[in-house]
């Protein structure tokens, strides 16, 4: 046995080279040439937008500018962690996020490079972008979505659920459905409520919500809408674009579901509906900063705004963009809350704490 072991060793010395070869190979393989390309001929995009309809939006930019877009799509926090680890050598040029609190957190963590753009300053309303300082503005909102209610016409009177606060009222016991209290859309809503009603009232609200639930929070917003239509829940919170998508669906089961549903713009005479923002800015260490600014300005163009409105049923931020989306038109004008993005961002941890304490899963 001993001899055999000895005899093996020369062969195995050769085999031992395998691991080092393997790693060298793995690192070099698949290195994309784009990194070394001419500056501003490509754009490296880190996007948390998870909407299939954005393909056309990006393709159109490449077509009109010749700038190729390299894309990584992931959850907001995964992207922010990644940027964090990459540090000064990060290839990211533009960061797009889909939640106000996340935008705020990215700004506070210094992920954005402030920019000065007349086009963006002019086209994007001041309340939908970061506060500018001497260096410029860090991020801009490009579309908005509202957190609205859908209800089952057979099971509830709309007047009983026309504010967020009323959802937690004992008259709605056993009727309310929402997605998980850990989801950013819920956290931002609760963050806004903390700002509007105060911490104590929001704690009470969270407990009332938990007492009123028809089922433990689960599923996405579309699931809530379907559960309301099927009668499992009487009323549910959802982002507006999920309802609009359903309104534009041609599938028979969607049309049947829609017939049972009504929707409510909450708090129309009591502080306005909560809206959330999808937006972004130039990454702090962007290797292609000019392409990045060009891309952001493109997102504020009429064409891109129409893509956002038509594709994902979001509201454009640029005033006077002509909408050609029947669902958005039907959802109609509404009164919006006056809560700053910074407040929603700051309140996020408090919101999670309140929901956990109330047992809002």
């Amino acid at each position: 046995m001993h001899e055999i072991r000895w005899a093996h060793s020369s062969v195995l010395k050769k085999i031992s080279l395998i691991p080092s070869l393997v790693f060298g190979l793995a690192i070099t393989l698949g290195s994309s040439p784009n990194h070394a390309a001419e500056p501003n001929a490509v754009l490296n995009l880190y996007s948390a937008r998870h909407y299939q309809t954005d393909e056309a939006l990006y393709a159109n930019f490449t077509k009109s500018t010749g700038i190729k877009i390299n894309r990584i799509e992931a959850d907001d926090n995964a992207l922010l962690e990644r940027l964090n680890s990459e540090g000064a050598k990060s290839p990211a040029d533009v960061i797009l996020l889909v939640d106000a609190a996340r935008l705020w957190r990215a700004q506070v963590n210094g992920m954005f490079r402030p920019i000065q753009s007349k086009v963006l300053d002019q086209r994007i309303p001041a309340n939908l972008r970061a506060k500018a300082d001497a260096d410029g503005t860090t991020w801009f909102g490009f579309s908005t979505r509202a957190r609205i209610m859908v209800y089952n016409k057979d099971r509830i009177k709309p007047d009983d659920v026309n504010t967020y606060e009323k959802l937690a009222d004992p008259i709605n016991k056993g009727k309310v459905c929402t997605r998980s209290g850990s989801h950013p859309y819920m956290l931002s809503l609760v963050g806004a409520l903390i700002e509007r009603d105060g911490t104590a009232a929001t704690e009470k609200w969270a407990k009332g919500m938990v007492a009123n639930m028809a089922r433990a929070p689960k599923g996405g917003d579309t699931d809530q809408i379907r559960a309301v239509a099927s009668g499992e829940c009487a009323v549910a919170l959802t982002n507006s674009y999920y309802l609009a998508r359903l309104m534009r669906s041609t599938k028979p089961e969607d049309i049947a579901a829609l017939a049972k549903l009504g929707h409510i713009w909450p708090n129309q005479n009591a502080g306005g509906v909560h809206i959330n923002i999808s937006g972004g800015g130039v990454a702090k260490n962007a290797p292609n900063p000019q392409a990045a600014v060009k891309f952001l300005e493109y997102l504020a163009s009429d064409a891109a705004q129409i893509y956002l409105a038509d594709g994902n049923n979001e509201w454009p931020v640029v005033a006077g963009v002509k909408l050609d989306n029947p669902a958005l038109k039907a959802l109609g004008p509404y009164q919006v809350e006056k809560v700053s993005v910074a407040a929603i961002g700051r309140n996020q941890v408090a919101a999670q704490r309140i929901l956990d304490q109330a047992g809002f899963r």
Partner: protein, 527 residues
């Protein structure tokens, strides 16, 4: 040899080191005016939610453990010992669910059975059903789904173990006057215990590492706690602490299992065992056996596939260029990683075998940790590590980082298969070959390779299918423009487009089926 082996294994354990360092050095990212420091995130979680999460996690593991035991051992027992109608098909078809990722099974199960889904709607509208049926989005639903996806792990190992041993033992048992059930419980089951335990452990590690399917069921497990700390509280350090807790739990279970196994070593099977002659079942017994296997197959594979095909036909086959890119990326990543993993596994297994070093064996054991590491936790570990080394930018332009993550996660699956194969090649065989004048390379080429062929193939297939299904690490670490079928499925689910995700989901299953069928054929031939 020894040094490079230790080096390779350590390289693959670096991210865990990264995690520990991050836990020690980590400072929470700055949050708002009332942002909490790490200690208070953990205290908050402990006070309000963590107990719940731990209880749910343990219940889920318990339920899935029992489920995979019943289906895995039950089917393996029937297949290994009896002859009944349909057996020839069941024997290989029972492993087909391996190709279905748990998150896809979860989407299908919930969509099909929920209150607003087709079954309950039909019952309400056509039969006037008023009472509400159990919600599929529940602990029970999750147990069911995981059991259906994961029982093949137990089935595969239990079947091999029964085939190797039961023939002789059943005959001995018969002469002792045991009924076949008694013999099974008193003799066969205890002897197969290490194998069955390994199968169950594999299944439960998948459960612990899962986040996608669990969250789809609206369950809150320990993984939820990790994500809550990380995502809602923005506290990476607290998340890392929790990850390390999960990891030490898994290590404890492992240690316990090894310890148990060490005390329970049975004499190795002789090479000249007679093949078992399966007993022919007739009448009602044959029917029960048939039903047991058939129902397993229907619920774990045929029904989910039918629902998936139905969704695809509803959506129509739209295979645009994006689809082909997903397919190409998935295939090439899986194949490349599988080959690499098997090369590494061969090297590590040979190093341990030839040096007979306890250290190297221990080092190889250490690699199993990767399998139990939740993909997202592994991702954070790698990010921390790359961040410390200041080379994280590599991950955007090279697929190397992602492949590295896959190796950490799945090398152990390949390694186990190859180690098992190597144990079948006894030192006496090496000695005989040497006596007959075979040179080392010649021996490897002419004796080891043919004997190892099946193990190598199995290892390749396992890694291939696992990479194909892997999601969290892929999401976190992939380079630019490299969307895979799994990523596409996930993105479509995140966008709440269930019908659109049917095609990529179906593709994962179909591509995963190819190697699984190869594996099944190998199994069938072995008889």
């Amino acid at each position: 040899m020894r040094i490079s082996s230790i080096f390779l294994a350590l390289t693959l354990n670096l991210p865990i080191l990264g995690l520990i360092l991050a836990a020690l050095l980590g400072q929470p990212s700055p949050i708002g005016s009332d942002g909490m420091v790490s200690g208070s995130t953990l205290t908050h979680l402990w006070n309000y939610v963590l107990t719940d999460y731990i209880v749910t996690t343990l219940l889920l593991c318990f339920g899935v453990g029992i489920g995979v035991f019943i289906l895995g051992v039950g089917n393996a027992w029937l297949i290994a010992n009896y002859q009944f109608p349909g057996k020839a098909i069941f024997e290989w078809a029972l492993i087909l669910p391996l190709a279905v990722p748990a998150y896809v099974m979860a989407y299908l199960f919930v969509d099909f059975l929920q209150h607003a889904g087709p079954v309950q709607t039909m019952l309400r509208e056509n039969l006037g059903l008023t009472m509400s049926l159990p919600d599929p989005r529940s602990l029970g639903g999750a147990m069911w789904t995981f059991t259906m996806c994961l029982y093949p792990y137990v089935y595969l190992v239990a079947r091999t173990s029964f085939l190797d041993r039961s023939a002789r033992f059943m005959e001995v048992a018969e002469t002792l006057g045991y009924t076949s059930v008694e013999a099974f419980i008193k003799l066969v089951l205890p002897m197969a215990r290490p194998a069955i335990f390994t199968g169950i452990a594999l299944a439960l590690m998948e459960v612990l590492a899962d986040f996608g399917a669990v969250s789809y069921f609206g369950l809150q497990t320990f993984a939820t706690g990790i994500f809550k700390a990380w995502l809602s509280f923005g506290d990476r350090s607290a998340a890392v602490h929790l990850s390390l807790m999960l990891l030490s739990f898994v290590l404890m279970v492992f240690y316990w299992e090894r310890h148990n196994r060490a005390r329970q070593r049975y004499a190795p099977t002789n090479t000249n065992t007679r093949p078992a002659i399966p007993k022919r079942l007739v009448g009602s017994h044959a029917l029960y056996a048939f039903l047991f296997c058939a129902l397993t197959l229907i619920f774990a594979f045929i029904l989910p596939m039918a629902v998936l095909f139905d969704l695809v036909s509803e959506q129509g086959l739209e295979m645009d260029s994006r689809y082909w890119a997903w397919l190409k990326n998935s295939l090439s990543l899986s194949a490349f990683t599988a080959i690499l993993a098997v090369l590494c596994a061969l090297f590590l297994a040979y190093a341990a075998r030839l040096t007979q070093s306890k250290t190297l064996q221990g080092v190889n054991r250490l690699l199993t940790v990767g399998y139990a590491l939740p993909g997202a936790v592994l991702g954070v570990g790698i990010l921390s590590l790359l961040g410390l080394l200041d080379i994280a930018w590599l991950m955007s332009i090279s697929v190397g980082v992602l492949v590295y993550a896959y190796l950490i996660r799945f090398l152990s699956a390949g390694l186990q298969s190859i180690e098992t194969g190597l144990t079948r090649i006894t030192p006496a065989m090496d000695g005989t070959a040497a006596l007959l004048g075979a040179k080392p390379l010649e021996m490897i080429w002419r004796i080891h390779l043919p004997l190892l062929k099946r193990s190598v193939l199995t290892a390749l297939l396992f890694v291939f299918v696992d990479v194909m299904k892997e999601l969290p690490a892929t999401l976190l670490l992939r380079p630019f423009n490299l969307d895979t079928l799994a990523v596409a499925t996930y993105q479509l689910a995140a966008d709440e487009r269930l019908t659109e995700l049917a095609l990529p989901a179906l593709s994962i299953v179909l591509v995963g089926l190819l190697p699984v069928i190869l594996l099944s054929r190998a199994i069938a031939q072995k008889r």
